[in-house]
Amino acid sequence: TSNSNGDADKANVKATTAASGSTPGKHVTIGFSAPAADHGWIAAITKNAKAQAGQFTDVSFQAAEGTNDVNAQISAVQTLIDKKVDVLVILPFDGKALTSIGAQAMDAGIPVVNLDRVFDNSLAYRTWIGGDNYGMGVNAAQFIIKTLKAKGVSKPVIGEIAGIDNLDLTKQRSLGFKEALAKAGFSVSIRQAAQFTADSGQQVMSNVLQARSKLDAVWNHDDDQGIGVEAAIKQAGRSEFFMVGGAGSKHAMQEIKADSGVLKATVVYPSSMSASAVTLARLIGQSKGMGDLVEQEVPTSITLFSATVTKDNVDQYLPTSFT
Amino acid sequence: MRGITKEFPGAKALDGVDLDVEPGEVHCLLGQNGAGKSTLIKVLAGAHQPDSGDLAWDGEPVVLPSPTAAMRHGISTIYQELDLVDGLSVADNIFLGHERARFGLTRRGETATAARDLLRSLGHPEIAPGTEVGSLSPAQQQIVSMARALSHDTRLIVMDEPSAVLTQDEVGNLFRVIGELTAAGVAVLYISHRMAEIRAIGTRVTVLKDGRTVAGGLPADTPTAQLVALMTGRESAYDFPQRVPGGEPPERDEVLRVEHLTQPGSFEDVSFTVRAGEIVGLVGLVGSGRSEILHAVYGATRPASGTVLVDGKALPPGRVTAAVRAGVGLAPEERKSQALFLQDSVVRNVSISSLGRFSRFGWLDRRRETAAAAERVAALDLRPADPQRAVRTLSGGNQQKAVLARWLLRGCRVLLLDEPTRGVDVGARSELYALVRELADSGVAVLFVSSEVPEVLGLADRALVLREGRIVHEAAAASLKESHVLDLVMEESAHE
């Protein structure tokens, strides 16, 4: 909620003193472009990036309007190129669609840090940093398998509330989930897609609960839509199953900690990655390497780990959750 | 009303009008199309605010800032353009704005009963209060408008061409109502282009010309020639053109042939022909199927059976485009909804059916288009004579001329006219009559519908009398008498 913003912002940035590359250097202007902040995770992405940039005295931050229209995002990036920013951080609405403008920036001598949704061609970015979507599905599945095995359930009814079905990352998450379940001989009994919003999560889940009068486990891809999913479960008075969330919101982690509802775990897709991306952009702009690595340069790709947060380790992850 | 002026962008509609109306009289307002009659009564109804001038009511000066204010003073108005709401029922329309209600809840029973009583007193019990107004015929809608005016506790009723959409028997009924009203001391301000009506019910007459009062409070029996002179500034009389210019009509070719046209519920087994150069009139009561026949001939509706031939070739049923290509034109009954593009200029309205003539491969030659349309407009003496003016701002009569100009421009073999002089002033009428005759003389076959029997008898060469969708009589118009036609039209009722 809004009064905890301050904490959250601080929680998701890295203090500037820690790494060796943080000593002030050449001034860097970072241009930033992301999809429209139409759900919590993306909103957190933009906010974290901005907050991280604020930590550096040698960085100025130029954010373009978030948009879900690839045509408009291309124009926005073009504008940032025209403004001659030093480094670009781009979370494309659609990686493939933004590839050519990414390449154009690189050709114009502006290094691009590609965030989350990946470009189609490695010539279009200097560095990619993002989460492990397939791994997220795998980790969610493994938690479910472990829990069901412990309960001795042999033929479980498993539900999946996916995120926006048009995104490649949704596909990968579902694939990881499916393949990992298959290894244990389990399969998804019902899969429906919501829109990453509480509104859509509630609507979809209330219907799914009608479709399956008994469930054993549910994986919900996104904790923001999870607010609605949980509400639907409460309103239907259902509690015979347990649920795993996704992305790692503060609300979800608090629920896990309280252990009062169906939500037992969430697989993290760190929204802090945008803060890291800004840090990387600065290092690239100043031609520095990453302090703790031996290498002189920033690596070309960094895949973040998707941790499984349960009641046992929730305190460790709460500070980096998004609101 | 003294010295009323009102200016619209581009037109000074009223330029110093004086008018006084006394209780119990029927005060007639005369004037050519565009003279400002409707504008004047809208000022009186509180619908327009005058730019200057004074209004007095019972000797006291008043301002009427809104229609409600006028109604509160006991002024109710029947507007020229039927101002009804199609989607509402008859009863709801009658009481619109002053509903029978309690705490905002409508009293539906009471409303229906009151509406039924009003309609009954108007001689139209067949109009059910619950009927949707959009499904009524124009004549019936006019009755509803009248009922609406009477639903107010009224001391002055303003009627703007109420008879335009009524047939003669309907008009008689209207006059009975007016008689009852004036007997009760209500004043009536009556607008009509029909001299005979003014003779029949008028007490006094005021004549408007170009937004000014040119004569006020004349006795109703002032000779027609004098009134027309006042209205037009010309000494021309109201006349039908000569039927046969110089002797016997030559035996021209048959252009239109209609065979066994049938549309159950509207008309049955209608057959007739129209020759080149001939004007045929169709007479009948409201709802006798006249418009329906014209529409079927034109292909605007598809008849159940029967054929229409133009120059010996059968038209495909229900296809207007084919009819137009074969040289048929229609000036429909309701100009505004069926013929005009109100927002568009006169030129565009006139040229719309002839664009092919002014284009190559679809590319328009706008100079030629404008010139040709302007020429027809000028020929019809349309006023104001500005072909680029939006048709919406023209008076009713001039709008009708624009529709005729459309078919003049296109050039027709067969011209179908549905109530061509509705709302057209006396002067323009004779022009229209002359025009129709000229057209016929140039070889066009004209078929027209009119609710004014004298018009049919005066203008047509031949008349077809229609009763309940069947042609019951056919004769040379010159040989028919008005009373005879009326008897024919209503024969059935005498038998029942």
Partner: protein, 367 residues
């Protein structure tokens, strides 16, 4: 539902006026002869039975009737394809799902019949929901939250109404602008975060049941009934049809057209405020993305329900049937676990089929 098209009356009550020869002018009193004309009802579709039916269900209402048939067909399909469809739980679920958009559609129906359109409904829901779930507002408890949501909805609606009626900006543009601005305000207030509701009594709006049916359903039902009465049984309703059907005629009849237009948007805003309460309780959170695309959903329901986009004619009952049709389609898809693309394709086809099925009135002019 709309009573303006009750069947034509029996002809018997026409008074036989005495026939009387016309006097000199030929225009004097003659009997009214309209009654001798062919029975207008006879030209209607079908013969005896058809007429009887028409008497019971006037043409205008046939439209809603057609939609009811569509809904029943959907029910048959649902029952055939999923054993869970025809359970009381599921029916209640469908109704609950329909509740929020149903309430919004009540307001939208008034606006569209009145000749307007409201593209800002979704954004109003968002801003009302966010405003009523700020920490400050939540500290005032249930009453404070309810009050805030409804007042915010009303205020935004009123602003729409003033701009449209008195500022004379076309409704499409005004409410489009409001859609952008109101959502922006909602984002600003919430900082784009979902604001979880901690006031339990508020969340109970979505969980409490009476006779097994959630409060939300009663709330929707009450608002629909009130709306129906307002539209069909009050002067306000009559004026709405008049203002939408022929604003000039309405003005000449002494109706304060502008004020009425303004009130229509206010009404829509209030409906959105109530819907915001319902949706917020249902999702247990306020967020700036709530009600996304609800404008399209509600307009579609209104139009499919038989209201003319141009105004002047329409039926609230039809709108609600429209909402139920859409909700039921979604329900059936989820019950059958169909993928999104198939859902989309089928949804389009069903919309078309529904319109074709309910085609009882004659051809309207295209577009």
């Amino acid at each position: 539902m709309s009573d303006q098209t009750t069947p034509r009356p029996a002809q018997e009550d026409a008074p036989g006026l005495p026939a009387q020869a016309g006097s000199g002018a030929g225009v004097a009193t003659r009997p009214s002869l309209v009654k001798e004309g062919p029975d207008p009802g006879a030209a209607g579709p079908g013969g005896g039975l058809g007429r009887q039916l028409l008497r019971l269900f006037p043409l205008h209402q046939m439209h809603s009737l057609g939609l009811l048939v569509v809904l029943i067909l959907l029910g048959v399909v649902g029952t055939a394809t999923s054993g869970n469809f025809l359970t009381s739980n599921n029916i209640v679920n469908i109704l609950t799902s329909a509740a929020v958009i149903g309430v919004i559609t009540v307001g939208q129906t008034f606006v569209i019949i009145g000749g307007g359109i409201d593209l800002s409904v979704g954004a109003i829901v968002a801003v009302a929901s966010v405003w009523c779930t700020t920490v400050a507002t939540q500290s005032h408890g249930l009453a404070g939250m309810l009050f805030t949501a409804v007042v915010v909805g009303a205020a935004v609606g009123l602003l729409n109404g003033i701009l449209i009626a008195y500022g004379k900006i076309v409704a499409f543009i005004t409410t489009l602008a409001m859609m952008a601005s109101a959502r922006g305000v909602a984002e600003r207030i919430s900082d784009r975060q979902s604001q979880v509701v901690t006031v339990d009594s508020f969340n109970r709006i979505a969980t409490d049941k009476f006779l097994g049916i959630p409060l939300l359903v009663y709330l929707m039902a009450a608002i629909v009934v009130l709306g129906w009465l307002l539209l069909n049984r009050t002067t306000f309703g009559r004026h709405t049809f008049a203002v939408g059907g022929n604003p000039e005629a309405a003005r000449l009849a002494g109706i304060a057209v502008r004020r009425h237009t303004m009130l229509l948007y206010l009404l829509s805003g209030v409906c959105c405020g109530v819907a915001a309460v319902m949706l917020t309780a249902r999702t247990t959170s306020g967020a700036s993305n709530l009600g996304n695309l609800y404008e399209l959903d509600s307009i579609a329901a209104v139009i499919i329900g038989g209201t003319l986009l141009a105004g002047g004619r329409g039926s609230l009952f039809g709108s609600i049937l429209g909402v139920l049709v859409f909700t039921t389609i979604t329900n059936i898809f989820v019950l059958n676990n169909l993928t999104t693309d198939i859902q989309e394709i089928a949804k389009g086809l069903i919309i078309l089929a529904a319109v074709l099925l309910q085609r009882t009135r004659g051809a309207r002019s295209p577009a």
